[in-house]
Symmetry: C2
Subunit: 108 residues, 2 copies
Amino acid sequence: MPTVEQRTDLPQPAREEIRIEQVLAALGDPVRLLFVRQLAKAPAVGVACGVIPLPVTKSTRTHHLRILRAAGVISMRAEGTRRVACLRREDLDALYPGLLDGILGAQH
Amino acid sequence: MPTVEQRTDLPQPAREEIRIEQVLAALGDPVRLLFVRQLAKAPAVGVACGVIPLPVTKSTRTHHLRILRAAGVISMRAEGTRRVACLRREDLDALYPGLLDGILGAQH
């Protein structure tokens, strides 16, 4: 019998629970913004978090990703021992049209 | 001889010195976002800072306005004893098209 890998979505706010102050505060950090910029280039199905290099320790990385997830900027799911992250582009574009493009297109 | 009121612009980053992380961090606070939302409704020539009600003490207000100014979100000038604030809409729209509209249009 083939092994079925368990997939579990980590807790996150529903679209209507997302708040602009929290989204902006989550994105207003160089490390988190770097992660989101890289994630935006990844396939929409998501990417293993560890694949995106960040100039911080593992525990700091975990902390930053939790802030992004709690704010509703990214979703994460556990696939076995991996954590796969997705940018919640559809939710953010629906709530704040133009916001994400304005940020991702920034030259500096 | 008529009195000429002295107008002095307070220090602020030039457009090319504005950084997206600092703009987002400045806006990612409920009090500062409230101020910016109110300022966005004011005439483009600016409004006396004290006219916009904020649920904080005067020293906290000064702190928040300094963060917004240092990030390049607002400009301020001294006119006699008044401080007049303007939203730097033109600069922000040029640097990050869509960002400000996405934020100001947010329902929550």
